[in-house]
Amino acid sequence: MNLEAIKSEIEANVPGCRLELIANPSPSGQHSLRTGAEHAVAVAVYLRDAEDLRFDFCSNVTGIDWPSREVSEKVKVRKLVDGVEQEVEEIRKTTLAGSLEVVYHLFSVEKKHGPIVLRMRTEDRDSGVHLPSLTPVWRSAELQEREVFDLFGVVFDGHPDLRRLLMWPSFTDHPMRRDYVGPDDYEYEPTAHDEVLQRAQQHRSEADETQLGEAEGR
């Protein structure tokens, strides 16, 4: 199953789509195809229905959080130094915008081949988090896309019932994001060390103060 061949086949048959082949450097050899949001449903339908592919089993839908990160690179620039034009090395920092990625693992029950990995990225991590839902194509994406919505915050357009799956409805955060800070309820940690020790000591001093306050109030 040659991913290059599949990519060209899809691009030939689904008008307007542009797929990107993402190589996977690990020994697993599971390379992926990245698709844009506008043609994702058409690509998915083609993958499911094409005679030679027949990827009718969507096994796994998951999200990955790629927060924005700074990349610094050394650039040679011509600059005036003491009146003489010279080539100087400068460090240029660029910020790669963060995004949320949704990954689909597809198998074929009919042809018994797979996996094909399909990926989609959102525009950013704040307001541009809409992606088309592939639930109309594969029913197994229904609960898993709800989970990605719950834990990462990706909004799937076209999902029949997009609600939180695992956390309670009035919860406001998206816990699997890398910048999520959980609630601090480590009031007691018997073998505390490092940052947990600091927090435990802070909690203890707060508890001391409240106990002292109660004692004085009596």
Partner: protein, 213 residues
């Protein structure tokens, strides 16, 4: 009453006892647990009720499906924050006298999942617990041992005086506040009347001083 006199009389067919012993004997030997398992410890609880480590011979004859008919709630497994209000509500629905066994590391203090944002760090933050069983999961024999501890504890409860149990003490509450779901966490995070952070001497990392209190 003198033990020897008691034995002599009982050989003659006259049994003497105190009201406290009789009352506690009835309660200890027929504690009916609530059919309530949360996670992996629930499977060990089920194994304890099966033929090999039979718990019915200790008096836990039937596991009641409804909290209104149960005496004992064995909190077996991780209590998550989503589940915590329901556990407290179930506890409130149980009629007095009621007991709680906190089975497994997760129910005691969060266990291996202590770092989790959705994990309640111990059910004793909201309801009073009588016996704690460490283990992950504790063996069925450990659960039987805890059950016997509970039976011993009930046996020793006097009917009058300072140490009388909660249901004979009109001043003690028998229902506890149910936490609500907040935007980031449960509100309140703990019941301050029931649980205060223990003031344990926390050792510095890298030194030899162990915690002592």
């Amino acid at each position: 009453m003198d033990e020897k006199l008691k034995n002599e009389l009982s050989k003659q067919g006259i049994f003497t006892t105190t009201l406290q012993e009789l009352y506690n004997w009835g309660r200890t030997n027929s504690i009916w647990p609530l059919n309530f398992g949360l996670a992996c410890c629930a499977i060990e609880m089920i194994a304890t009720t099966m033929a090999r480590y039979d718990m019915a011979r200790f008096g836990a004859e039937v596991f009641r499906p409804s909290p209104r008919q149960a005496d004992l709630m064995i909190v077996a497994g991780t209590v998550t924050k989503k589940m915590a209000p329901l556990v407290v509500r179930l506890y409130n629905q149980m009629p007095e006298p009621k007991y709680v066994i906190s089975m497994g590391a997760c129910a005691i203090s969060g266990g291996p999942f202590k770092q989790g944002y959705n994990v309640l760090k111990g059910i004793d933050r909201y309801i009073p617990v009588d016996v704690y069983i460490p283990g992950c999961p504790p063996r069925p024999e450990a659960l039987l041992d805890a059950f016997m501890e509970l039976q011993k504890k009930i046996d020793e409860q006097p009917l009058t005086g300072e140490k009388r149990p909660r249901h004979l003490n009109a001043g003690e509450p028998s229902e506890y506040a149910v936490p609500r779901y907040g935007a980031h966490d449960l509100e309140p995070t703990k019941n301050p009347n029931l649980w205060k952070a223990p003031l344990v001497q926390i050792s510095q990392a890298g030194t030899d001083e162990s915690g002592s209190h």
